[in-house]
Amino acid sequence: MVEEIGTNEEGELVINMGPQHPATHGVLHLVVTLQGETIKKIEPHLGYIHRSIEKMCESLTYRQFSYVTSRMDYLSSHINNHACAMCVEKGLQVEVPPRAQVIRVMVDELTRIASHELWWGAMAMDLGAFTPFFHAFRERENINDIMEETCGARLTMNYIVPGGVMADIHPNFQKRVKSFIELFRSKIDEYDELVTGNIIFQNRMKGVGWISAEDVVSYGCTGPVARASGVHSDIRKLFPYEIYEKLQFNEILETGGDSFARYMVRMRELRESVHILEQLVDNIPEGEFQAKTKAVLKLPKGEFYQRVETARGELGVYIVSEGATTPYRIKFRSPGFANLSALDHIAAGGKLGDLVASMGTLDLVIPDIDR
């Protein structure tokens, strides 16, 4: 298969980008056909980190399976757990207490900020600027500290469970979130100064990796990738869940459709998420943090689909239940998988450097693609 590939019949150079390559951020394997520096075709080979999560979930109970999903898109693990919990709740028809709902939305938004920060740093690194990575991690560390106090973990939190959240928030939670919001507002401006306004950066991003609105929909791209082409795709707005309906925030839309538009969508989303946190931090209602549920959960026979907006786009959890304690079949519709399928369309025709820029702004997380 890949091993024999050197130059193909047309004299084009075929290179293996990955599975160990600095720009693929994980074990993504791309077979890139080049003519000089120009990309002719990109062919992804997946599966290097496929753990068969869907199959594993078939033998896990409804309380257990969401822990595995933290490992899918590990940068938005809260949001994955959230989707699973909500899908189970939909089947059980459990009403989640308001306090739990607010806490869930808050940790979701914190996760989104943390994820976008990591993306920002890693993408700048792809383009050859090393320093932003460290600056992004400085602020991300604050979020991790908040998570550590409340959830007991820093990356795969497993905090959101069917019925609510696993434990009440730490007494410091509100205070620390408040100070984070204050700090972060000034830091986003610093990010813009360091990277966004840079002329080299703008030249690298503008007009690179363009995709039209129709193609975005056809390829099933969601999240910032879709919104950068002007397609409404924010699940929080389109099909609101939890308390998003009552919150004031905007769906960020750009019309450029290129890498720079995708970049700008995420940078503006950072501000929007801070805005959401600001509305909630002083308004966490008193009450239970978890609804009363049975010890052993049994979903009624049927099919349940729940979607949420992760940092990367629309995550769908599709549970087929036969009325047992374990799901009969689970499918995770991961945003990264669909976004990756558009990579060939986006980057072909560009230069090798453009591929790195496009890949950076697609924000691929490989375990999310492979599952």
Partner: protein, 152 residues
């Protein structure tokens, strides 16, 4: 469009359509031959306009396989679930990867995981599994692998 209106529009296109009640969205049960002509209509019909195929998957029911397509219209906002019943011993269905581009990768995944053959698919190869897994379909219910244990 409400699910009643959807129902009547689809019935006009395909009189023998069988609808399934009880789910969150309107569900439609088909046989493989009906799928591709209907898919074209679903995509192009001005009142339906299902341009977004947001979830493609397969379910192994032990007696048969069933392809499940979740469709949404980004402009009109309505949903439709299409389930296509396939023969378990020789599952084959026409591809829709030219109608919705996202189906190309999802169909490849269903091909390797469940062994569903997508006729006229442009590039039906293993996507996730390594070479040598052709014909072994790990997501089927009867799949056993003593070395790489998947069941917990």
């Amino acid at each position: 469009m409400t699910s009643e209106a959807l129902k009547s529009t689809i019935t006009a296109l395909l009189p023998e359509a069988v609808f399934e009640e009880g789910g969150e969205w309107l569900a439609l049960q088909l046989v493989p031959e009906q799928w591709r002509p209907l898919a074209l209509q679903l995509r192009q019909h001005p009142e339906l306009g299902f341009d977004f195929l947001f979830c493609v998957t397969c379910v192994d029911w032990k007696t048969h396989l069933s392809m499940v397509y979740h469709l949404r219209s980004t402009k009109l906002g309505h949903h439709l679930v299409v389930k296509v019943k396939l023969d378990r011993s020789n599952p084959a269905i026409e591809t829709v990867s030219d109608i919705w581009r996202t189906a190309e990768f999802n169909e490849r995944e269903a091909y390797e995981m469940f062994g569903v053959k997508f006729l006229h698919h442009p590039d039906l190869r293993l996507l996730i599994l390594p070479d040598g897994w052709e014909g072994r379909n790990p997501m089927r219910k009867d799949f056993e692998d003593p070395v790489n244990m998947i069941k917990l």
